[in-house]
Structures are given as structure tokens and as C-alpha cells.
Symmetry: C2
Subunit: 244 residues, 2 copies
């Protein structure tokens, strides 16, 4: 490894996080379908902050406290929640200026898991360039944490991890000898040739389709829809991109 | 999923095994550099059986009991062992007809972990076609378990998992909607274009090189050197391919 270069790693599942954990690093949490895409969408639509909530019990408590609640498990809205996990839910007039409590199958747990690191940012295709610039400006090691599917490897999260790795490596500031980084880059290179055909390989794309929840799939695979930089700090996520 | 088809899954790390575990399936353990390659080599060179030993303490005990002992950690031979982890160690006159106790950084633990499944077979490039035929003949679901590197994702194990998945899917008997299977197949497709260039991406290939232990790397990436089918049963591995 070259002195002075920043280290880049990818962790393909929250269940492997303890093997990659680095308290000095910034962790970028990736949950393409749909938590990280929804959070980025929220901030470009005037949401004040998002409180990620790991358990269903805590989600219910937040609702009772009067928060707007977005909550789903396995793609389906919890019956006591205001709405579910689609980015489109975070684009309405009702959410403007609000703090939203948010609980999902995979993504919100991954955010809490990463909380002991130097900082946690939420990354997705739709806020790619903004997060890339912010990560590069921080001058810190970066660990990408794929939220996965129930702790299993998730194709779309890993493919986006590859896209972000490729961009970070291309800045010339980062280096990696991590097998996961090089494998993710190769998967991204394949996917990038035709992402709208490649997405048919993603199991969760088909789960969403079966439930009629796949209207947002193409949106979640679109680069740079907005320039939100959602950072998790002191229990809540806010947009730190002041120009956003 | 289509009725009557067998299910195929890939687990990229022993630390994820509990998420994929299926007691009805056959588990194929993959540790290309070097345990699964060494075990396949052993049986084509007249070794009677191999006893995988997970801990260093148990390895020392086996040596005291009089077994030939092959044992390494992080690539280096343990000082009380007879030899280490290179397939070439398992090709000498000294091992013919013998039972060898064997303990490695990743592979032997993965074998023990899979022991509660229906059966455990040891798979590698060098005994690919023999294991493929045996797996197809068993008419059971198959789970490929990559031994990984200290529970992290390992590139060479995942690429070989892709090669074996591709072959199993091509029989027309197996199906998969597992993200890991499709990702592994894509990595294999890339690697297969020029495996001797692609191997430079594998971190463990460089670890071995640094220690001067990379003389076996090309051997471990060669298809069908032998037709051993090493199966783990009742605490020991034997070759069940009677023609072998």
C-alpha cells in the first residue's frame, strides 16, 4: 500500500461488518432498493431530518410520539405507519420541513451498525456525485457498507458499491487491495454496459415487481437526480450539503 | 422457481453461512488457495484419508497421537507440523496410503461448519468435472460455501464458485434466484477470458507471492488435473470416486 493514499474497502453484508469495521473510517451505507435512494430523495424535497429506527417496536413508539413514520418490512408498509419505503413517498407536500422516523428491513439497521465509525453517509445512484465529492473532501479512509437482503449478498447494492469505488479510485486519492472492491468494480463495469437490462438479474427487483412496488426501480438506478449528502449524526440524518 | 428443479446457492463467507444453511442440501466447500486444491491433490496421490482439524490445539493433539500433520496459519507452516498447505506437499511418497490431519486458516473450519448438512464435498478447479458429475448425480439442492479469507470475501473462491455454478446451471437440473449465484457467474465469465491475467486481482495470490508460496497458484487454477471427489463424513474426508 502507498503511504499517503486513503484506504477503500467494501463490505457486502451487515453480517460481515465486524470483520471490516474501522472506527477511523467514514462508512457509506448503500441500500439501493430502497432506503438509501429514499433518504436522498427526501432531502431534495425539503425534508428537515430523518431518524432511522431499527426495530418495529421503536418505530411504533416514534409514531406514538407524533412523528411522521415511514416503515416497512419485506417491502410492505407496516399497518401503523404513515407510508412505506418508496422514494416517491418522500416527495410529497406532507413531508416538507418535517422530521420523519424511518424503519426498513435492511437499511436502517445498517446505518445504526455503522454509527461508531468516524461518520456515516447515505449513498445511492441518485446522489452519487454529491456523496463522491463530500467523501473525497473528508480526506479519510472509506468503507462502503452494503445493506444487503436479510444479511445476504445483494446484487444491486454491490453493483452500486462498484460504481462508487470506481469513482473514488479514479480521483487518485484512494487505493485498495480489498478483494470486495475489485470484484464490485468488475460487477459495476458489466452492469454499466446496459443497466436497464442488467437489473433483471437483481432478485429484489423481482420481489418488488411481484408486490407491484417496482415503479421506482429505474429512478433508484439513475445517477445524480439530486445533490443531497445525508449524514447520520447524533441519532438523526441531515443534509450537510448546504448548496443542496 | 420451477417445480422439480434443484436449488443452487452461493455463500461468499463462512460468517454468512447461518443465513444460507440448508440441512437438506449438499455443501461444496471452496478454498482455492489452497486447502480445497490440496485435498483434491492428496487423493490423486494415494492419500487414504484427510482429517480436517479446526483449531491449532487440536492439530497439536493429532500430531502427538502420531498422525502426519499438515498445518498452517496465514500461509506459514506451524512449527510442530510435518508440512504446510501447498498441494505439492500432498504429492510425495511420504503421504501415500496415509491419513493426514490437516488444519488451515480458513478451509478446514468451513468444512466443519458445513458438517450438519446432508453431505460435504471439497471442490476446486483441479477436480472440477468429477465434483460436477457427483453433485449432479446426487439429485439434491447444492450450496457452495466459499472459505474466504478470515471471514472476508475472497475473490478466487468466488470466481471458482461462479465456474461451478455455471456448469451446474448448464446441466439444466439446477435453478437459482440467488444474487450471489448470478454475481459469481458474472465474475467467472470475466475471469475465464484470461485467468492468468485476472489472477493478479486476487489479494491472496499476492500474499502468497510475498511469502514465496505462490509456486502452486497456476496449478490451483487449472481445470481437471484429477478426478477426486473428496467427501467429508464421520470426521474424515475420503475419495468417493471409486474410479479415481
Amino acid at each position: 500500500m502507498i503511504e499517503g493514499m486513503l484506504n477503500l474497502e467494501v463490505c457486502f453484508s451487515p453480517a460481515l461488518y465486524c470483520k471490516y469495521e474501522n472506527p477511523e473510517a467514514i462508512v457509506a451505507v448503500i441500500d439501493i432498493f430502497r432506503a438509501s435512494s429514499a433518504i436522498a430523495a427526501a432531502f431534495s424535497n425539503g425534508v428537515h431530518s430523518v431518524i432511522p429506527v431499527a426495530s418495529i417496536e421503536d418505530a411504533r413508539m416514534m409514531k406514538e410520539k407524533g412523528y411522521l413514520l415511514a416503515a416497512e418490512r419485506n417491502g410492505l408498509v407496516l399497518d401503523f405507519a404513515d407510508f412505506g419505503n418508496s422514494p416517491y413517498n418522500f416527495m410529497t407536500e406532507a413531508v416538507r420541513g418535517k422530521t420523519i422516523a424511518y424503519s426498513t428491513t435492511n437499511g436502517t439497521q445498517a446505518i445504526h451498525m455503522a454509527a461508531r465509525s468516524h461518520a456515516v453517509v447515505i449513498a445511492s445512484f441518485i446522489n452519487h456525485s454529491a456523496v463522491l465529492k463530500w467523501l473525497t473532501d473528508q480526506n479519510r479512509d472509506v468503507l462502503l457498507l452494503c445493506a444487503g437482503w436479510k444479511d445476504k449478498f445483494s446484487f444491486e447494492d454491490s453493483v452500486y458499491a462498484g460504481a462508487l469505488c470506481r469513482s473514488l479510485l479514479d480521483t487518485g486519492r484512494f487505493q485498495s487491495k480489498c478483494d470486495s472492491v475489485l470484484a464490485a468494480c468488475d460487477l459495476w463495469e458489466l452492469a454499466a454496459q446496459n443497466i436497464s437490462a442488467y437489473k433483471e438479474k437483481f432478485a429484489h427487483r423481482h420481489r418488488l415487481k411481484k408486490m407491484g412496488l417496482d415503479d421506482c426501480v429505474d429512478y433508484c438506478l439513475t445517477f445524480d437526480v439530486n445533490d443531497a449528502v445525508p449524514v447520520f449524526r447524533n441519532g438523526e440524518i441531515r443534509n450537510v450539503n448546504k448548496s443542496g
